[in-house]
Amino acid sequence: MATTSQADHPARLRPWEHKNFWPVVALAAILGINLALFPQKFLFLREGRLYGTLSEVLQQGSTVMVLAVGMTLVIATAGIDLSVGSVMAICGAVAALLLTRTALPLGGVVVVALAVGACAGLWNGVLVAFLGLQPIVATLILLVAGRGVAQLLTSGQIITFKHPAFKFIGTGHLLGLPFPVYLVVIVAGATILATRLTVAGLYVEAVGNNERASRLAGLRPGLVKSLVYGFSGLCAAVSGLIETSYISAADINKCGEYIELDAILAVVIGGTPFTGGRANIVGSVIGAAIMQALSTTIQMLDVPAAYTLVVKALAVVAVCSLGSEKFRRAMRRLVPARAS
């Protein structure tokens, strides 16, 4: 692979050669534009809590950030998880049903919802790893059927509820920061520690790099893949809880609609390649923040929200073009021609 050049000379790495340099620059640029345009709205303290654009980006981007963590690992095994939006809807519905119809304490509700998400993810994993389905197809099935299942659970109704403790998950503040930010830090932090300090990260990247070689080396790729998809389901459950708590309702049609696209794009922008074998979790979280910063800035400029979609589409093609070897080679051929 062409990617080994960085690993061969870690000492000579210049700052702009760091893998997260460009995503951070992009995020800083978008936030910088925002700060320049709306300086008084950017960040302020009210009643000991941080409000403003930056806080909003972190709070509203939290669902995609959490999803992107799970998605990064899935993509690192050369897979994809399209079902996260539907899993969010299922978990949100389960939580709302348990809160309104049973006397289960909040902890129990959260545990059950997380377990449901993990099981949904494991189902994907089993289809991919042991039945040999292509990841796009395996997770497409749950994407198509999952929202139907969620709809059947709630009989097609939007379940609203009043539960101050549950509402804290999505809207609460802790030490001035929105609570979902802590969830992102916990999920991303735990994942980074698990993949860097234990052998788990090596396993995931090995399976993504060359499944056959990893099997010959004594790994069990099937087990690794199943667990990775299960983890992605768990992340989707966390996102589903945040979203459901944020609006104090389980809205099956809207919850997590098209969010799989945002999560995948966040991972791509963050620099995890689709070919598998590498996972850049920090990059993915930054990628998710970029997406949210873009949306928030566009909204603040009073541009109709529909433009966000167009801008996102163009941004993604631009970012992917920069990352494409073929495109870089073509550009390199162009540049000297112009200079002469």
Partner: protein, 321 residues
């Protein structure tokens, strides 16, 4: 008796499942086994069917097109705006939107081939782009109230007490052309060749770029045509039309026996896939069930078929691994 080739098994099992489902539904419900219900499969699923034919080519070539539902929505909006707001003649408006859809498909194909980004990502961006553009152009649905449109919508070929409207006929025409192109033209053969093994096809001198871009262009054209049919079917342009249609189309293609890994499948199978979709949808209406059961049933059917395919395709895929 000709030996049943292994490559025909997915298609034959698809036809078997369709006949089985159709027979069960016909026995279970009164008035299911009628010409009207059968013709409605074609009428109600005409835009899905047209898109699925285009999708078949893309999947056969080893790619995927997620933008189809959004391109359909954009087409309906542009057509409605041209006719209603700008007073363009409907025929001209139809030609304009067909060119637009084809151009979008062509552009995505070019980015996929020349820039080298995964089809999945490019068409995902296409999905965002077209949906966003449709919503930018118009926030709500626009009714098309045009005498020529009304005449075209009302016209049908009478069959018994009902008939085949233009929407269904277009679907059938696209299907016939699709089958012809896939079997009898060099483009069709090239699509199979690069889907089967791109490297081998390139070494044999198959024009990879032209064929790939051609597939996405065709899919873009089909999506736009489906959009035109949608405006005829619903007499309106709607920026929120066709949400999730890409999944239904992919499901139809896969249930129709086309392998998602590319290179294996038939356009005719896609027709059966769309018909199975129609049977399930109609049966669920007859059963008075929540329409969300359709999604669950389609999901399960998709799973069943892919597992069947795995069973039959296993030796081939193992050789590739």
């Amino acid at each position: 008796m000709p030996r049943i080739s292994q490559k025909h098994i997915p298609l034959l099992s698809t036809i078997g499942v369709f006949l089985l489902l159709y027979a069960i539904a016909s026995l279970r419900y009164d008035r299911f086994f009628t010409v009207r219900v059968f013709l409605n499969f074609f009428r109600d699923n005409s835009f899905l069917g047209i898109i699925a034919v285009g999708m078949t080519f893309v999947i056969l070539s080893g790619g995927i097109d997620l933008s189809v539902g959004s391109v359909l929505a954009l087409t309906t909006v542009v057509a409605a705006l041209l006719i209603e707001r700008l007073g363009v003649h409907p025929a001209l408006a139809v030609v304009a939107v067909l060119v637009m859809g084809t151009a979008i498909g062509f552009a995505m194909g070019c980015v996929i081939h020349h820039v080298g980004i995964a089809p999945f990502i490019v068409t995902l961006a296409g999905l965002f782009f077209a949906r966003g553009l449709a919503l930018v152009l118009c926030d709500g649905s626009i009714t098309i109230d045009n005498p020529i449109y009304r005449a075209v919508t009302a016209w049908k070929i009478p069959i018994g007490r009902t008939g085949l409207p233009l929407t269904a006929l277009t679907f059938l025409a696209v299907l016939v052309v699709g089958i012809y192109v896939s079997v009898y033209t060099s483009f069709g053969r090239n699509v199979y060749a690069i889907g089967g093994n791109e490297e081998a096809a390139m070494l044999m001198g198959v024009p990879i770029g032209k064929t790939k871009i051609g597939g996405y262009t065709l899919s873009g054209f089909c999506s736009a045509l489906a959009g035109v049919i949608y405006t005829l079917y619903g007499s309106s342009g709607d920026p929120r039309a066709g949400v999730g249609l890409e999944l239904d189309a992919i499901a139809s293609v896969v249930v129709g026996g086309t392998l998602l890994s590319g290179g294996v499948g038939y356009v005719f199978g896609t027709l059966i896939g769309v018909l199975i979709f129609g049977v399930i949808q109609t049966a669920i209406t007859f059963e008075n069930l929540n329409s969300w059961w359709t999604r669950v049933a389609i999901g399960l059917l998709l799973l069943l078929f892919i597992l069947l395919q795995r069973l039959f395709a296993r030796p081939r895929l193992r050789a590739n691994a």
